[in-house]
Structure formats: C-alpha cells, structure tokens
Symmetry: D2
Subunit: 114 residues, 4 copies
C-alpha cells in the first residue's frame, strides 16, 4: 500500500478555471472504488492503494484533459511508500495528532522560534 498525491494541470485552457477537469477526475476515480481509497483536498487528489494500481490510476487521470481537446498536461505526483508498517491516510494523520496531544499535556512544550 502506498499513498500518492496528484495534481493534473491542463495547459492552454483559455481561462484560469480548471475545476471541471478536477471534477471529471473525481468521477473517474469513483470507477476504481474497491481498489483504491481517494480524497479530494483543496490542492490535489490523494489516492491510497497498491502501487501498481496507483500507477494505472495516475495514467488514467492524466488523460482526462486530453480527452477534452487540450494538448498539454503537467501532472505532479508525490508518492509516499512505506513498507515497515501498513501506512494509510487515516493513520498518517492520527500519528501526527498523537504527537500533538502528547505535547499539549507535557509540561515543556516544543520550543520553536529559538
């Protein structure tokens, strides 16, 4: 299991809005349900699943703007692949929150801005 964070930027869109492409990507992701877990954030789409499946999914969503006649797409992908333990989107956030609540109950907080 790995997690990928993907942005698909169509280039040459005439207008600054690209939300319709993002919406279509969400629909396409819907068709992969059962194989992947995904989540739309304000900046990208996060997808969790087996790495070979994720690569297939990324290729599929990268094609979306081309289907609408666009001629150039800039796709950006961050892969986080951890194999010492099952890492899921939910667990990653929980791990950070565990540190945060720990710090709050400790007498000495973390000193930033030193």
């Amino acid at each position: 299991m790995a997690i990928v964070d993907v942005t698909v930027i169509p280039i040459g869109t005439e207008t600054p809005s690209v939300s319709k492409y993002v919406a279509e990507i969400q629909e396409l992701l819907h068709s992969y349900e059962g194989k992947i877990t995904y989540q739309l954030t304000p900046m990208s789409t996060l997808i969790e699943g087996e790495l070979p499946v994720l690569f297939d999914v990324i290729q599929a969503i990268h094609e979306v703007p081309f289907k609408h006649g666009l001629q150039r797409v800039a796709t950006n992908i961050r892969i986080d692949d951890r194999r010492d333990k099952e890492s899921t989107m939910a667990r990653k956030v929980a791990a950070v929150q565990a540190h945060l609540s720990q710090t709050e109950t400790e007498i000495e907080p973390v000193h930033h801005k030193e």
Copy 2:
C-alpha cells in the same frame, strides 16, 4: 491570497517515521493564526494567506528539522495563486463539487474511458 501545499522531508532520520516533525510544524503554524488558514492532509500541509506571509511561514517550517539536529531537508512546495477572483481552500473544493452534482443530475454523464 494564495494557497500553498507544503511537505517538509527531513533526510537522515534513522527511522522512516517523520510524524514528530510534522506535528511540530503544526504547532508552529498555530502561532501564525489570524494571518493564515491551514489544514493538515495525510500528504502535506495546506496554507492559505497573503503570498509574502506564506513565504515567511514556509521558511519557518522548513527550519523545523534543522532545530532537531538534522542536516538536510527536502521541502516541496506547490503554490496556487489565482488573482481573477478570491480563491480559498473552501471555494476550490466547492467549485469541484458544483461540477460533480451538476453531472449527477444531467441525463448524459461525462464519458470517461472512451
């Protein structure tokens, strides 16, 4: 107003876990409240605010692993800066969802996988 999507990866950590650095970054972001809006996702931290403030904040969070004795940090930043209208994290997600609900009520859905 712009939105940035930031990952701060400490290199040379001995273990694969980096959640304590992410947690400290969240605390540091907390100290900027009023100037920025931020959100932790499973893959990064999203921050919304005026661009010069965001650059200050990015510089500050990039320093976090160095304070703990690490010697190398790989920070990755995606900036989304839109100036034809006020673009916020909430509005961006709403724009995508508006397209999605439109598609659902239409007879002909978007055809992907052609």
Copy 3:
C-alpha cells in the same frame, strides 16, 4: 513522447547523503537505453520517452532504495506531456533560448503581449 522529472528520496538513511542511490538509479536507467533518453541534473533525473514506458521506468527506479533495506521512499514526479508537437528535452531548451536571443538583438526589451 513525454518528459518526466523524477526525484527518489529515501527516508531513514542515517546520513544526509543519498548519492549512492542516485548513482544506482542512473545505472538502472542505462539498462533502458534505446527506449528512453535521460539526463541527470543536480536536482533530479529527467527522462524522455513514451508515457507507458516512462511509468514502468519510474516504478523501477522507485524500488531502488527498498532493495537496499530502506523502508520508506518519497518519490516526486513532474510529467510534462505535450501532444500538439513532438516535444523533446532538447527542443524545450532551444525554444527558451530562441526567445532569449531574440530579446538580446532587439532594442526594446521583453514586451510580450501586453
């Protein structure tokens, strides 16, 4: 033909140096010669080829740190896929340089479409 720009960051390396992994990735890329063109830059590896081949190559180089016992890898990929004309690494740089030399010979400096 597309171009990808890839960084493979091993997490949990004990030391800040990761050049040995980068070197092994270059050797692995060497085994794909004929199918791809690649170039090491100080910040990443650029690879040019057919998109499905590039995805295979990315999967292969992403595995390199795991083969050495590392448990977490953060891979970052930028895809530039242009289909209105054959876009190669050489042509992209040439296109920028053409603009630059044009500007140098003109009396008036850069005024594009204002």
Copy 4:
C-alpha cells in the same frame, strides 16, 4: 547555501506554449547574478544561493506571468538544503558520478551497505 528547483506554470494561456515566460524568467535571474547561480534544464530552473535570497528570487519569478495579464500561476518548488557540508549543484552531480565510476571499475556490481 541551498538549491531550489522551480517551475512556474501559467494557467489560462490559450496555447500550450509557455517558453516565452520561461525566457523572461531567465532574464530576470540574470539580474540577480553575483548572488545566485542558476541553470535552465528542460524541465525547470535550478537556482543555488543563500536560502533567504532564493525565496526572494522565487517570489520575483512567480510574478512574471501575472505581469503579462495572466490570472493564475502554479509554481512548484523543490528545496534541497544541506548543512553538514557545502552542497553545490556541481558537487551534487560529482558525488553521483564518483559512485558511478567506482562501480564501473569494480568487479562486483553495486552492493551498498546491505
């Protein structure tokens, strides 16, 4: 000293070509000479310098498409900041090449620290 790897993608350009913006960014970088070292690659611009200077430079080049009337810019930045030794663009590539030439002259292929 740190190294940054920056792409500035204008969104809403009508055509897929963005080389004129990249060219103008190179000219702008030229005006920072003495403070930074920079290099155009087929996929991005690499800039080496003191981190606060680099942040100023990034802000400046991110503005380029807006000056030409564009309303949205997606800038992507990778920062590599290493403080245990002076890391320059030239030295990073040399470190990888040192590993490569070592491997070539050895009888046994790559076996790092298994």
